[in-house]
């Protein structure tokens, strides 16, 4: 850029503006601005930006990470679903070294022990003790029902957790 470039550009532009030709005036003003110096950012500007951005921009996950996360979540959901459906059967198979009767007897004995402990602790409260005894006896009569309810509760908790995790991951 020389002095004459800028002076000539300004002169030409002002003449074109005076003549009222928009197209020519615009072209002349482009030359005026191209003859003007452009202010430079300070030295180290790019480093400062990258440093600031590095603090704020989270390190991106590898490209395969979202697919892996989705796959793991899907597999976990399938496993939980299968577990909920087949848990009683699995428990039965796992306990095949024992008889079903023995398994139920142990579970019932455990439940009975818990009920007794609670009943003893709350023995002063006859009404509650009576209710717990009723519940305990109901559970003892239907251990499969207890197992099923336990399975469903577990499933609900796990699915809820997975849902929150996936939602957080997406956001």
């Amino acid at each position: 850029m020389t002095r004459n470039d800028l002076h000539d550009a300004v002169s030409r532009w002002l003449l074109e503006e005076g003549a009222g030709d928009d197209r020519e005036a615009e072209a002349a003003l482009v030359r005026v601005f191209s003859a003007l110096p452009t202010p430079e950012p300070p030295v180290g500007f790019a480093d400062a930006v990258v440093h600031r951005a590095g603090v704020l921009v989270p390190a991106p996950l590898p490209s395969w990470a979202p697919r892996l996360a989705r796959g793991m979540a899907a597999a976990a959901l399938v496993l939980v679903g299968l577990a909920a459906v087949f848990l009683p059967l699995v428990l039965y198979v796992l306990g095949s070294t024992l008889t079903l009767g023995q398994g139920v007897e142990w579970a019932a004995a455990g439940l009975l022990a818990v009920c007794r402990a609670v009943i003893e602790a709350l023995s002063f409260w006859d009404g509650l003790a009576g209710a717990l005894a009723t519940l305990g006896s109901f559970a003892l009569k239907s251990p499969v029902l207890v197992t099923l309810v336990f399975s469903l509760l577990t499933t609900a908790i796990v699915v809820g957790g997975l849902h929150r995790w996936l939602k957080a991951d997406r956001s």
């Binding site: 300004v10 002002l14 005036a25 482009v30 003007l36 110096p37 202010p39 500007f45 930006v49």
Partner: protein, 195 residues
């Protein structure tokens, strides 16, 4: 062969720090000069230009590759500068105000090949006069003038950057040109380009 903007964005998104740096290197000058000529304060312009790049990087995933990266960055810079002007109401700068900024960088680019100190001084006076005239435009006029004639954006790109309708952009540019010419005449810069 230089890497195109969209490849740079993809690399940045995959965690390549050098890609971020290259984006800044590529656009720091136009973004900084646009913001500086908008806010008329060098240290503030530096801070706002940094803000604009950091905002862009934190939302880089939302960049639509069907658009130009430069337009997207200008839009963010525009919003950053306009927010600042609204907050501080730095809408016009008196002639003396430009002296706080212009001479520093204008002096650094004065034509060293010009042997005569008087002619060099006249060159800087003209540059300063133009800077002051641009600074006296209202902010929305100033911005469209800078985007059009300093950065060379098309009308539709300016509309996209500023969020103004295309017709408004054309009107603003026309009026801003007339005001700029009138201001220069008032400052004594005639058609011969002399103060």
């Amino acid at each position: 062969m230089p890497i195109d903007d969209h490849t740079l964005v993809r690399r940045a998104l995959s965690g390549d720090q050098e890609a971020y740096r290259e984006i800044v290197n590529r656009y720091q000058r136009p973004i900084f000069s646009l913001i500086l000529r908008m806010v008329r304060d060098r240290s503030l312009a530096e801070e706002l230009a940094q803000d604009a790049f950091v905002k862009a990087f934190t939302r880089l995933e939302s960049f639509d590759p069907s658009h130009k990266l430069s337009s997207w960055l200008f839009k963010i810079a525009h919003n950053t500068a306009i927010d600042q002007l609204r907050r501080r109401r730095v809408d016009t700068v008196p002639i003396e105000g430009a002296d706080d900024d212009s001479p520093g960088w204008i002096a650094s680019v004065a034509d060293e090949s010009e042997p005569s100190p008087e002619r060099r001084a006249a060159q800087m006076d003209l540059m300063r006069g133009l800077e002051v005239a641009v600074g006296r435009l209202r902010p929305d006029y100033r911005e469209v003038i800078l985007l059009r004639f300093q950065e060379g954006l098309a009308y539709d790109e300016i509309a996209e950057v500023t969020g103004l309708p295309l017709g408004t952009v054309k009107t603003h540019i026309h009026r801003a040109r007339k005001e700029l010419a009138e201001t220069l005449r008032e400052m004594g810069i005639d058609v011969a380009g002399r103060l």
